[in-house]
């Protein structure tokens, strides 16, 4: 009943004057957050799943909202990020003062509907209602993405996003129909009956592709690098922080009911996530647009989550309860961690965009001198995303690593080799992430500003950086006290994946995580110790300030600095065939006496998108243009078509083909 009230008062947004719109929006979101997380936390603590029947009947079925531990966990993740997103949007939306009031109200309205539909997606188990809310989420996020619609690239990205979401929904529709054909009901619970009777792989693949398109696994990720840079920052933070995770939620929901041939499914999930992990981060390295870089990193982190899930499924298949527990726990914890540091990174890039109005990192630089707090927060988030020790990224990757290492003890040889490949893949992802984020952080924040004039930039308002600081504190908290963060995750895993025999070792690794926390604290202690040591020793030593050593060039080096593309150049030469980086530069030919001004620019298209998607669409367009001969404008032809159609159908009937 409360949800209907929410929907009604969300319509009030259209009437509220422009000035009050952001605050009214936050009021609505805080109310929804309070309502949903009250039940979610109750479920997480008590363990009994909460269910409520909605009064409105929908196509004859009454909709039932069920919050079980898995959806409770996801609700908390969603609520936290959407809350910080709406707080961040107050100052960010001031940049769009010129927008008309109806555009602003549509924006806030679809932001609230996005939040509501994400909550409902985790709550509804009935098939048709689930699909309705699923595509409602796609439509509302589409309206948010095309907010800055004066740029045509934004429009193209938005439409591309909407169509891919629709294709994903078509996969889900066909999966639910197949389910309905065999078991007569659309619910997720009917999957248990379905999986016990017939082959699991085909319908799982349909579900996996349908949810994978939303999650952004490699082969279907092409909408992500276009949609996120197009959307305003707080929207892309919510989208890549949380909305992608609902794809993972869907896949987890389906894997809970899997009964047969789990091994092959686990292998498929593992390989696809390895591909998307390594591919995502490799493409991220050569990006120049900060948000596109972060979007590719979402694909990489989805890959890591997928690896955790693959390991978990293989663990269940081979009856290794510890490996299964570690895999799924790592996967769920990384969902939480990624939503934290990814939204922090997007907010940081949002503040950079707000201040410098450009996202191309080649023009930025030296921002730490002007906005030190944002730079520090961006640093913490990029350390966390690379999975470096004292922060939360390391904890979840640590769980997945342990899962892989314990998985190495599998019987067959090819399982050991598979575990080795996934270990190498995960390490490679970590190394590439470090390579990419050192580039991103140092080019944007350190050194001198390359092209844009940053002299008058000031720190963002307190109420914008406040949510960022809270997120950074959470990142640090999970990093240093992981055993508290692991409690809800392990509770969810043990209650949802009942076929993981809740063996004692499964609970054995809780103290294991504590050591990581202690090690992190010791690490920070050592750093502080050394800093104090340095202060004490060099207390009297003179300190001078001079220009950076420039090999006898003593002016201020501005465009002599190392740019992002040169930083990434030695990696892109190695990975040239995969990344097909194009450099467009017109060389000066010999007899050109007064050559005009030249520019050097590298740009990279997405290999997967180029080779598979655009080629497919171009060929279909070509075929269509060849087939478009019917509408010739001549009356005789129109009558000829009817006559030929009758003759054709008559022949077919006589030859009994029809």
């Amino acid at each position: 009943m409360v949800i209907l009230v929410f929907i009604l008062c969300s319509f009030l947004l259209f009437i509220v004057p422009n000035k009050l719109k952001p605050y009214f929006n936050i009021l609505l979101i805080v109310a929804l957050v309070a309502w949903s997380s009250f039940y979610a936390i109750q479920v997480l603590l008590s363990g009994v799943s909460f269910s409520e029947i909605l009064p409105v009947t929908f196509w004859g079925h009454s909709i039932e909202l069920i919050i079980d531990p898995l959806s409770a966990f996801f609700i908390c993740v969603i609520n936290f990020t959407v809350l910080t997103g709406s707080l961040f949007s107050i100052e960010y939306m001031k940049m769009y003062g010129h927008k008309s009031s109806i555009e602003l109200s549509i924006h806030y309205f679809s932001f609230f509907i996005l939040h509501l539909s994400m909550i409902l997606v985790t709550m509804i188990h009935q098939g048709i209602a689930f699909l309705v809310v699923w595509e409602l989420m796609a439509v509302s996020s589409f309206m948010l993405v095309i907010f800055e619609n004066e740029k045509c690239s934004v429009l193209r990205a938005g439409i591309n996003y909407l169509i891919q979401m629709h294709i994903g929904a078509l996969f889900l529709i066909s999966a639910f129909i197949l389910l309905h054909l065999k078991t007569g009901s659309f619910d997720f619970e009917a999957l248990k009956l379905y999986f016990s009777q017939n082959v699991n792989i085909p319908i799982f693949l349909l579900f996996f592709v349908g949810f994978g398109i939303k999650a952004g696994f490699m082969p279907f990720h092409t909408w992500l690098p276009h949609a996120h840079p197009a959307a305003p920052t707080h929207v892309s933070a919510v989208m890549s922080g949380v909305m992608i995770k609902l794809g993972i939620y869907g896949i987890l929901r389906v894997t809970m009911f899997l009964q047969a041939d789990l091994l092959w499914i686990g292998v498929v999930v593992l390989l696809i996530s390895l591909l998307s992990g390594v591919g995502g981060v490799a493409c991220a390295i050569i990006q120049h647009d900060l948000k596109k870089l972060l979007a590719y990193h979402s694909i990489e982190n989805i890959g890591i989550i997928g690896i955790g899930m693959g390991i978990g499924i293989i663990g269940i298949a081979l009856q290794f309860p510890v490996v299964a527990f570690l895999g799924f726990a790592g996967c769920l914890l990384h969902v939480l961690n990624h939503s934290l540091f990814k939204s922090l990174l997007f907010y940081g890039s949002g503040i950079v965009y707000m201040k410098t109005h450009t996202r191309n990192i080649e023009y930025l630089g030296g921002l730490i001198k002007k906005i030190p707090l944002t730079a520090l927060l961006f640093l913490i988030a990029s350390l966390a995303i690379c999975g470096l020790p004292p922060f939360n990224g390391f904890v979840s990757e640590f769980l997945i690593y342990n899962g892989i290492i314990d998985g190495l003890a599998g019987q067959e040889i090819w399982i050991k080799v598979l575990m080795l490949i996934s270990l190498a893949g995960l390490v490679l992802i970590g190394g590439l992430a470090i390579f990419c984020f050192t580039k991103a952080f140092s080019v944007v924040f350190l050194g001198n500003s390359r092209k844009s004039d940053i002299s008058f930039i000031t720190e963002a308002k307190w109420y914008t950086t406040a949510p960022l600081v809270i997120i950074a504190l959470c990142i640090l908290f999970i990093g240093l006290f992981p055993q508290i963060a692991i409690l809800p995750v392990s509770f969810v895993v043990n209650s949802q994946f009942a076929n993981i025999m809740t063996s004692p070792e499964a609970y054995g690794n809780l103290p294991l995580i504590q050591n990581v926390g202690i090690a992190g604290m010791v690490f920070i202690g050592i750093i502080l110790l050394i800093l104090v040591l340095r202060m004490v020793i060099t207390r009297h030593a003179p300190k001078e300030y001079a220009d950076t050593w420039g090999c006898a060039y003593n002016g201020r080096i501005v465009n002599g600095q190392y740019t992002a593309s040169s930083f990434a150049e030695n990696f892109s030469t190695i990975a040239q065939p995969i990344l097909n980086q194009k450099t467009n530069y017109k060389p000066i030919d010999r007899e050109d006496i007064f050559p005009k001004q030249r520019g050097f620019e590298t740009e990279s298209e997405d290999m997967v998108e180029q080779k598979i998607y655009s080629k497919f669409i171009r060929s279909v367009n070509w075929i269509f243009s060849k087939m478009a001969i019917i509408q010739t404008g001549n009356t005789q032809h129109y009558i000829l078509y009817a006559f030929l159609m009758i003759i054709l159908l008559l022949i077919l009937t006589v030859l009994t083909i029809i």
Binding site: A628, Q631, T632, G633, N634, T635, Q636, I639, L640, F643
Partner: protein, 209 residues
């Protein structure tokens, strides 16, 4: 007796295929009108009087006299060039029409309907096919009209073979519709005049994708 008339009807179809000039086509229409009137007179004797008069009225007055007169008047008024410019030579169109007539023979035999005389069916189907062929193979819009009327003659022949199931009002409605459609064609022909003076169909193909 009716089979004789129908055979003459089929012969007029052959002549319509090879006719090069507009006026011969219109005369053929007149002949077909009279033939239909004859068939109706002989065939439908047991109908009630009112229905019979209506049908006779329709075939004699409408098809034999009124339409050919209207067509000739429009041709003279808008001094349209008299030739019928077909896409293909006379011989080819004759071949095609005969193939069509053979096809309609085969079609009627395969329908093995014992209740009705086969000759009606073949004449009706061949008239329909030749009407369509005339529409599709001639450039002039007037010949499209003539082709349409030959098609209508085929349908009328078919409805004779049905006998008297159709109530009188329905026949009246059908005749009314055909009359109105021919009137509308005439009305719009005058409008088309300013697009293509000699009513070429090729001028009427701007609306295309």
């Amino acid at each position: 007796m009716t089979t004789l008339l129908i055979i003459i009807f089929i012969i007029t179809l052959f002549y319509s295929a090879i006719s090069g000039r507009m006026f011969t086509l219109i005369n053929l229409l007149m002949i077909q009108g009279f033939l239909l009137f004859g068939v109706a007179l002989i065939e439908l004797r047991e109908l009630n009087l009112l229905n019979l008069i209506l049908i006779l009225l329709e075939t004699l007055i409408f098809k034999a006299i009124l339409v050919p007169f209207l067509l000739k008047r429009t041709i003279r008024q808008n001094n349209i060039k008299r030739e019928v410019e077909p896409y293909m030579s006379g011989i080819n169109s004759l071949l095609i029409v005969s193939v069509l007539i053979v096809l309609s023979f085969i079609l009627t035999f395969s329908l093995q309907d014992t209740f009705h005389k086969i000759i009606y069916f073949t004449a009706a189907f061949s008239a329909i096919n030749t009407g369509l062929f005339l529409i599709m193979s001639r450039k002039k819009i007037i010949t499209h009209l003539i082709g349409y009327i030959i098609l209508e003659n085929g349908i009328v022949l078919l409805s004779f073979s049905v006998g008297n199931e159709m109530p009188m009002i329905v026949n009246a409605g059908i005749l009314l519709d055909i009359l109105v459609s021919v009137l509308l064609f005439g009305f719009f022909l005058s409008k088309i005049k300013d697009i293509s003076k000699d009513f070429e169909i090729t001028k009427l193909s701007k609306l295309k994708d």
